[in-house]
């Protein structure tokens, strides 16, 4: 009997020790996974965001998305001071939009008078048409330093007929005579609205942020837990407006599925300030 009790005590002690060891190990493995998962999310998200925002051709505009509608956010300066730049942060939003270069340079193929509103371009490139203009895109014509918005695609280009016609928003016309012919070449660049939004724990990239296409997006990363990560920077708490040249993001991520144990230090928060790298900005308008 004594031997049995002794054996049971020894066996019990070993079992408890093993359970403690495996429990601690499992917790440390889980914590390690949580750290790595949130880290991975931040790395991928930051690379994608910075790579894209550096190429932005226009000032940043904040956007609110409520699950149904996208609307431009009305922002103002707050008393919060960003330690990285010593500038004041504006009210936050869950989205940011901007223009990216979408196509060009494409050359004008029909002489335009100062009152012309329909411009004809050759959109071919190596026998293909890599860019299709849509309503809302912006045209920049460097020769006359003017930019317009496309209000109608009169003739859409195709690979077999790559010449397309677009209508500009200035009803007075292009403002200059742009002659096509020997020795004359008028190129134009085309820009399209894109956006990042955060909703339902997803960081989303909208390649085309225009019309019904706003609803189309790709998920850059999941497990984003900051509901409003984007803000613009202001010169002071009373500054009336922001120049839209620096976007502050405070992106927080936690692995909410695989290792969701809310371990200490399992959250990663990336604070960054990103400007456009193109100087001067290729587009002045944010519309």
């Amino acid at each position: 009997m004594v031997e049995l009790l002794a054996a049971a005590a020894v066996f019990g002690s070993i079992t408890v020790a093993l359970m403690l060891y495996t429990s601690t190990s499992a917790r440390m493995v889980g914590r390690n996974l949580a750290t790595n998962h949130s880290h991975e999310n931040i790395r991928v998200a930051s690379q994608r965001i910075m790579d894209t925002l550096h190429d932005a051709a226009s000032p940043f505009v904040l956007v609110n998305f409520d699950g149904t509608n996208y609307s431009d956010a009305t922002t103002s300066a707050t008393a919060d001071v960003d330690l990285y730049t010593s500038r004041n942060i504006g009210t936050r939003a869950n989205g940011v939009r901007f223009y990216l270069l979408a196509g060009g340079p494409y050359k004008l193929t029909q002489t335009a008078l100062p009152t012309t509103t329909d411009l004809r371009f050759d959109f071919s490139s190596g026998g293909q048409v890599p860019y299709q203009p849509i309503v809302g895109d912006r045209i920049v014509i460097p020769l006359i330093s003017r930019e317009f918005q496309i209000t109608m695609v009169v003739t859409a280009p195709t690979p077999s007929a790559p010449t397309g016609v677009v209508r500009i928003n200035d009803t007075n016309g292009v403002g200059f005579q742009l002659t096509v012919g020997t020795g004359n070449c008028t190129p134009a660049y085309f820009y399209r609205k894109s956006a990042f939004t955060v909703y339902q724990n997803q960081l989303r990239f909208h390649k085309t942020f225009e019309g019904a296409a706003k609803a189309d997006f790709i998920v850059v990363r999941n497990d984003i837990t900051s509901p409003k990560p984007f803000g613009l920077l202001y010169d002071s708490a009373t500054a009336p407006s922001s120049d839209g040249r620096q976007l502050r993001m405070s992106l927080e991520t936690t692995d909410g599925s695989y290792s969701n144990r809310a371990f200490g230090s399992s959250t990663t928060t990336l604070v960054g300030v990103v400007p456009q790298r193109t100087l001067p900005l290729q587009l002045n308008s944010t519309d």
Binding site: N32, D82, S250, T267
Partner: protein, 145 residues
């Protein structure tokens, strides 16, 4: 296992430090610099201090960003948890769960000639008794051709 955790966390801090360095690189690359205009403050350099050296050393300027913050904020530029993200509507159930570490950002601008400077940005932080550093370098030329 402890070592794995430490390395995972250090790696994460290095990513955040890299972003902090990148932000300064973005600043110096994006500041307008035109011929005939004063050199922007970010790109200004000073003659080397002390007696003239032979051969002369290049003009340079070192800027150290190491703000003293009100506790519990760590001294320096914070890596990790954003203390400006705690307000209702900005935070989540997981906010403030990441450990915050203070970093020192050092920017060295060295003059190459009147139209070009070299920039070195280093971000240094301490974690569990060890010092870590992340550096980025770039050249910046004047905008005017």
């Amino acid at each position: 296992m402890n070592m794995l955790n430490r390395r995972a966390f250090t790696s994460r801090l290095e990513t955040l430090a890299l972003t902090l360095a990148q932000q300064k690189i973005d600043d110096v690359l994006a500041v307008p610099w035109q011929m005939g205009q004063p050199t922007p403050t970010l790109l200004q350099t000073l003659p080397p201090p002390g007696p003239a050296t032979v051969p002369p050393t290049a003009d340079f300027k070192v800027t150290v960003e190491n703000p003293t913050n009100t506790p519990p904020l760590p001294s320096g530029l914070p890596l990790g948890n954003d203390d400006l993200n705690n307000a209702t509507g900005l935070s989540s159930a997981f906010t403030k769960q990441d450990f915050q570490v203070g970093a020192v950002r050092t920017t060295t601008v060295t003059k190459i000639n009147d139209r070009m400077v070299r920039i070195l940005v280093s971000v240094t932080f301490n974690y569990r008794g060890l010092s870590y550093s992340v550096s980025l370098r770039t050249l910046r030329a004047i905008d005017s051709i």
